[in-house]
């Protein structure tokens, strides 16, 4: 009796796991176009000797495309009532469909987390029935993880456009981060590609969350016992390269999100062709990865380096240079500010020197208190001087490049440095 029972259990486990493996492959595959995988910015501590904390972002693995895997990023289901042209789960697409139960998502999250595979859960979903019905399921999973499993790891929930304020409020109590994807940089593009969706439905949960977060942070200052509410804030994502917006339009929109909605992050997702729809780039069109990278560089300049949007792009220069980074472009347009004396200039100006990042700038400012710095010191600090040397003076250097015209200087830098994108530009370079 006993042995038969045992065999039965093992066979069941294997069948169960086969089905789970298939479900996981469908629902992870459908979620992967959401590029956010950040797990930092929260400060959730482990409490009551429970499981996990969400204090520091860790990338536990990297896929073969080089992207970080920090969270278990899955859809609850890829059944969807919408038909957005750019989305692999659109109603009219002939793909396998699957759905997890609440318990299955909880078990996967906990068991992956205990093995140190992940920092937590990123849960999104296709829209089934309606927005509130879908949002309620997502919230139920987060609630179960927090209250029943005593789980303090990172949870990122999608706020479903059109979901009610009550559900968003509950989501904020359990999740570290919430995000609503605006999908397209402009309303026209959204109308063209996602006729069932309406931009207002996306912006209103964002506004609600912004205010709820501000209110929560204010309460927290007065009452220490105020519960956490989305401690890692909210983010959004725009698909890049599916529609004809300029970098100025995209970055202007991002800047609005940072300034008006207090978003922590805007993600730019280079469109991966997945459809033969003639409104979209054809299958086989390369993913605009360089452009995506330049947009992130510009985004960083706005958020961390003190650059204003109109210093990076403006109506006269609406597109980012693809062959050089946006900081170098800015410097070449503003040669009157250089050379900068690294032994005297403010930190803010040193951070603006092409090739010098924030940590290096800080190191320079700290070290120059002890002795006057030379180029040799900078080299030893590990600063790559191929770009920076054209924009600085320090002890023992004379400003040699001042006679060069910005265009000549750009060519000189391109020729003397190795860019990972060089193969993409080499045919053009040969023309000069």
């Amino acid at each position: 009796m006993f042995s038969i029972f045992a065999v039965g259990t093992i066979a069941n486990t294997i069948r169960m796991s086969d089905r789970n493996v298939e479900k996981l492959s469908i629902l992870a595959d459908a979620a992967k176009y959401d590029v956010s995988c950040s797990s930092s910015g929260s400060d959730r501590k482990n409490a009551n000797k429970g499981l996990g904390n969400a204090s520091n972002g860790i990338c536990h693995a990297y896929t073969e495309d080089g992207r970080c895997v920090s969270l278990l990023k899955i859809l609850l289901t890829n059944h969807c009532i919408f038909d957005c042209a750019y989305c692999v789960s659109r109603k009219s697409n002939d793909v396998k469909r699957a759905a997890f139960t609440v318990q299955e998502v909880v078990d996967l999250t906990i068991n992956f987390y205990r093995r140190n595979y992940i920092e937590g859960l990123f849960l999104s979903s296709g829209i089934f029935k309606n927005a509130d019905f879908t949002m309620e399921r997502l919230v139920r999973i987060a609630k179960k993880l927090r209250l029943e499993e005593n789980f303090h790891g990172y949870i990122h929930l999608k706020a479903i456009p059109g979901a009610s304020d009550e559900l968003l409020k509950e989501a904020g109590l359990y999740a570290d981060r919430l995000s609503v994807n605006v999908e397209m940089p402009t309303e026209q593009s959204l109308k063209l590609l996602a006729p069932d969706k309406n931009r207002q439905d996306m912006l209103s949960p964002m506004k609600y969350l912004k205010n709820a977060i501000i209110e929560n942070r204010a309460d927290k200052k007065v009452f220490k016992t105020t519960p956490l509410f989305a401690p890692a804030g909210q983010s959004t994502q725009m698909v890049i390269g599916a529609t004809p917006e300029s970098d100025l339009q995209i970055l202007w929109m991002a800047n609005q999100f940072y300034e008006k909605m207090n978003l922590k992050r805007v993600y730019y997702s280079g469109y991966v062709p997945i459809s033969n729809d003639n409104r979209l780039p054809a299958i086989g069109t390369p993913v605009p990865m360089i452009r995506e990278n330049r947009l992130y560089q510009a985004d960083w300049l706005m958020r961390f380096y003190g650059f204003k949007l109109n210093e990076i792009v403006d109506p006269a220069n609406p597109l980012l240079d693809m062959d050089i980074d946006p900081k170098l472009s800015w410097a070449l347009r503003n040669m009157q500010l250089f050379p900068v004396d690294i032994n005297k200039a403010d930190l803010a100006l040193i951070m603006r020197i092409p090739g010098i990042g924030i940590p290096s700038a800080r190191k320079i400012v700290a070290a120059r208190k002890f002795s006057t710095l030379t180029l040799d010191h900078l080299k030893k600090f590990g600063i790559a001087l191929n770009k920076a040397k054209h924009f600085i003076t320090c002890k023992g250097t004379s400003w040699m490049q001042k006679e060069m015209h910005p265009l000549q200087l750009k060519q000189h830098i391109l020729q003397t440095s190795v860019s990972k994108y060089a193969p993409n530009f080499s045919p053009q370079l040969k023309l000069f």
Partner: protein, 258 residues
């Protein structure tokens, strides 16, 4: 030249620094006991680890330097790099000879080297926090094997204790032959000896019945989240160097692609 020979512990190193001052040696070199080779031209001084002497040096450093700089010294020590003892000695001498902290005097070679060494040890600590993979074995123990480039177990202990407070776990450094074990109350160092034929690397015979299923699910997840149209092997290998692959279940299954 006087060779000060110490036992390889951090307290031992601090004792050696203390004695370099105490005996007013002119030129000193601190040497690890197991690497020491007597030379007819050098004097030798055997240093016996003395907690009080070590404590005095450490206290002195804490008064001169920020807590972060003191932590840097310890991290640099854990690199086990050849000669790091003498870099640390130069750093400490430089610190004690100045009234204010010299920790950001990066134009001084020892300060720069300590800062860089500490950084690379920190990176390895961070990688271990990322790449440790527990396997659930019978007895509900979460077991992980690793071979870090530097001796970082003392640095990752707190992270794992805070995070996995409700599960018993053991992280074993199979290169340095010791581990850290959390018994739901505290973390202790444990040492093992394995017989020649029992391998520490393969724990599959001791797996809990659910272990294989979750490894398969994880492997499936790892391959499903990849976007083939964005393949970038160079970046992948840069972030996940191949030397770590043998303890990563997701790379054991996927390594056939390379």
């Amino acid at each position: 030249m006087t060779n000060i020979i110490y036992d390889g512990s951090f307290e031992g190193l601090l004792t050696a620094v203390f004695e370099a001052y105490e005996y007013k040696f002119e030129q000193v070199k601190i040497v690890l006991q197991k690497h020491f080779q007597p030379s007819p031209f050098d004097k030798e001084h055997r240093c016996i680890t003395d907690e009080r002497k070590a404590e005095r040096v450490w206290k002195g450093l804490k008064q001169k330097l920020s807590a972060a700089a003191c932590a840097q010294l310890y991290k640099a020590f854990l690199s086990e790099d050849a000669g790091i003892e003498n870099t640390l000695l130069q750093y400490i001498q430089h610190a004690f000879s100045h009234p204010q902290s010299i920790e950001s005097d990066f134009s001084h070679p020892a300060v720069l080297l300590v800062s860089r060494t500490a950084k690379k040890v920190y990176r390895e600590k961070h990688r271990m926090e990322a790449f440790i993979r527990f396997q659930l074995v019978k007895d509900n123990l979460y077991y992980a094997i690793c071979q870090p480039d530097f001796n970082v177990l003392p640095l990752i202990e707190k992270h794992f204790k805070d995070r996995y407070a409700d599960q018993r776990w053991l992280i074993f450094d199979s290169y340095r032959k010791y581990g850290i074990y959390y018994d739901l109350t505290e973390v202790n160092n444990v040492e093992f000896t394995f017989s020649e034929d029992s391998s520490t690397d393969d724990a599959s015979s001791a797996w809990h019945e659910s272990e294989e299923m979750y490894q398969v699910l994880w492997q499936q997840y790892f391959s499903s989240v990849n976007i083939a149209a964005r393949k970038n092997t160079k970046l992948h290998v840069q972030h996940m160097p191949k030397r770590y692959w043998k303890y990563l279940p997701e790379k054991k299954a996927g390594s056939k692609d390379f």
